[in-house]
Symmetry: D2
Subunit: 285 residues, 4 copies
């Protein structure tokens, strides 16, 4: 029997059928787990669920849960994963020269808002090393050119593996990752795009928004997929602008959006609140 | 076995203990019900749940479900109720002279946004009878004075009972209900107050907001309790104002808030998405 | 000298130069006008201004103001117009089958929120005639086919001219106007598009939004130009959605956006608060 | 004639009368100033204006403008002040132990978002000295007890005068300033209160909000006056909460509000966009 105070979090999706909640909750109940939070969603004929339970008094240890749950999951033909709040996700942050998103992440991390580890920061520039130093986090520079991209990414991936990194946050990282890199971390790379997607895809959204004369600008956090700015959306929000705002004002106002929305996306991801289904996300807030 | 396509909705709250979800979902499962939606919440040591399941193929008829569920509820020491989407709530709307909230309710009702019946409208003035007529809803006038209030409310209550009214919506009704009336419909009377409660309790919130120089005004929908503007809050929202806005502008802007927020509160209430616990609500959105 | 209580509103734009405000305000001052509101904007080297003054005690009558102001405007090489609040804009509303935007406009009009006249409603369907009748507004049906479009629009334009219509509101009118029609009313046709432009141009934005998995939907009111959904944006706003929302939920939530945003656009337009410059608007809120 | 590129900003309020804008803009025009921005407001019979003009080519130097403008201001019986964008306001920041507001201010200051100087930070605790050090700003600690408050504040005021401080920002400073201190800086002390004033005055607003079961929490930035949390409101905003949020969640969500709203208030203040009139502010956005 466990003595710890960890929480187990099951994320599961499968074709819908009768009895899913009953059987999953029974699995927890019969082993002595108290369900703290259960949220489910049915989209047409597909079923999604997040169940969190207290591991105190649970009759089997963390390491054996997956094996015990396996037969049920197989019967349901489910995609699933069980995480434990005791074991934080390990996130690497990729940056270039803008500091606002990194500032926000490091500050929130120190405030204890995320349950994550940040073993390293990777950049294609030296600029933000002093900020990383303030927080005592190793900072690695990999300069990227068209010629060396393949080689540099290979080294980055090796470094990430070595550091047992689970997920990657692109905190205004100004390089496109290769398809090869993206494939290494499916639904584990979180990007912040500085527009209200699908409006203004690409690299100059504030300029485009200014020229179109919109009355609202937005930002979008999404998982990175092979198609540019087209991955499953995690979070979006907007801020009002007016004819008085220059492109620089949009950039200034947009910075606040970018860092807050990216922080919310990391929060959901780190708490195992996101299921990806096709091109969309289910967020159990 | 049922052939209908109705959905059953259980709302239940009780002291938290292990196995609640497992046993409730098992109750549904073993009778052939497919859970469409389950949302739960634990607040300290109290448990709240909303479970919706399809009645098609359910092994016992609607009328026998309460009896079948009773033993479980008793063991859990629960407050609970099961509603069926086939049987709409019956709401009476109380109004005075302002038409915006009534317009909104009747229009949404006709659009099919609410699953409710509106068997009658009660007012202390004749003014909104033409609007009620447009929608073909009986309109009753009970003029209220200090002297006749007790007698008039008795007649109103009789009329409500006769019409099998479940809940009451105060759509900018400008009379205070007596404690006696309030006690007849605990957590079944929905009010809209034209401020961001608890700021600006009482009858001139826009005037007060103007004089305080706030930059935002709000509106609040809540259940009516014995204390003025102090009942459990269902929904709130706000709109920005500026130094350019006169009291009349606040009234104009506030009207939009009032009708939208009241509509959202009715929507949650009619879909059985609200549990009241002490002075607060749990809203399963 | 005028005895009336009307307000004059000058909207003017011209190349920026020194002394513009001084000379315009002096024009008002030396004729005895008290400026109630002045708002200006400089965008690079172009100047925009809205000046409202009280006509009481103004030394020349309304009819002579344009002539008196002409020399100044000519010197500034300005585009300009003076309106009087006494004389309401005359708006025709075009509708098809959806009633929510028309409801909203007619209700606000009766509440006195707009200073407009609505001499007629035009539709390609009979459906909303009863609503027009409730408000006592003439309702004309012009069925549109590919073959008769040119002829029908000619009749519509004749009817609009006959009724001295200044501007047109497309309140979810489901027909594209021909370029010929659009050219008759430059920057005088207000449309509501049910997406956050420039995202989701075209006729199925809610479906597209659902499929993309956005977390926010929007609506946009804009002036109609020759290019589809590409005219100067007047107002935009958004509402949050989640994975729980079906396409029908987006439609339902979107209706609230559409009618509120269209109403705000009409409000700005009717109060002569909008200047169009190229593809963008300056809104003097 | 001036060669510099500074902008002059006049803030003026006086009883309303005919010709104010004409005469003020003429004052600028006849000295060769190009008005960049003019915003005015009339509230009943009181007049408020903000005029910004380019000092390039202005015929008199900065130091002589006040004297030149004095006769006009006297005739209008006006309260007024002219600032120059070349000369930044000097703000002192007061803090206790929470770092989020100070972080936000220092980061935005370094990004160039504010046009201010921060010559010093004052605290009643040592905790935030390392943060001040990172930005190279002198940090002074004055421990406050009931007994020494009068003496310590005298020293603080002396230090502020010595550093030519114009305004003070209370960035979650947890001590009440004495009336004596407040009187030294009328409408120059900006506070952030962690509730939607006038709701939840005092020191535990998140606790109160939690217990009342509100669906929205807010924050308010205001000028400090002699009455607690009752000064003229500069800016307010809100964030949604739900039954799932604990008091700690309200604190976490509220932090984001507090720092963003305080930053907006400083932005308006530093750009000379605020006029105080009685208990209210006019904000020329």
């Amino acid at each position: 029997m466990n003595e710890n105070n960890s929480t187990a979090v099951l994320l599961l999706s499968c074709p819908d059928r009768i009895g899913l909640i009953s059987r999953i909750s029974h699995f927890v109940f019969e082993r002595g787990g108290n369900i703290l939070d259960l949220d489910e969603h049915v989209d047409g004929d597909y079923f999604f669920v997040r169940v969190a339970w207290n591991m105190k008094n649970f009759s089997i240890p963390e390491l054996e849960i997956a094996e015990a749950f396996q037969p049920l999951a197989k019967e349901f033909n489910a995609k699933w994963k069980i995480n434990f709040t005791e074991k934080n996700l390990r996130l690497a942050v990729f940056v270039s020269k803008y500091d606002h998103c990194l500032q926000e992440i490091l500050w929130r991390q120190r405030m204890g808002e995320f349950n994550i580890e940040i073993p390293l920061i990777i950049s294609n520039h030296e600029d933000l090393k002093p900020l990383a130093d303030q927080y005592g986090i190793p900072y690695f520079v990999f300069q990227i050119t068209e010629e060396n991209k393949f080689e540099q990414e290979k080294k980055e991936i090796a470094l990430l593996k070595e550091n047992k990194v689970d997920s990657i946050v692109l905190a205004r990282y100004m390089q496109l990752l290769s398809l090869n890199f993206v494939d290494e971390y499916p639904n584990q790379i979180i990007n912040i795009h500085h527009s209200f997607l699908p409006a203004f895809v690409g690299s100059h959204p504030y300029r485009q928004a200014y020229e179109r004369g919109v009355k609202i600008i937005g930002a979008t956090s999404h998982y990175v997929t092979r198609a540019l700015d087209d991955g499953p959306i995690i979070e979006q929000d907007i801020i009002r602008v007016s004819h008085k705002d220059t492109v620089n004002d949009l950039v200034r106002k947009g910075r606040d959006l970018e860092r807050l929305i990216l922080a919310r996306a990391i929060y959901f991801h780190a708490q195992h609140r996101i299921l990806v289904h096709g091109k969309k996300t289910v967020i159990f807030e």
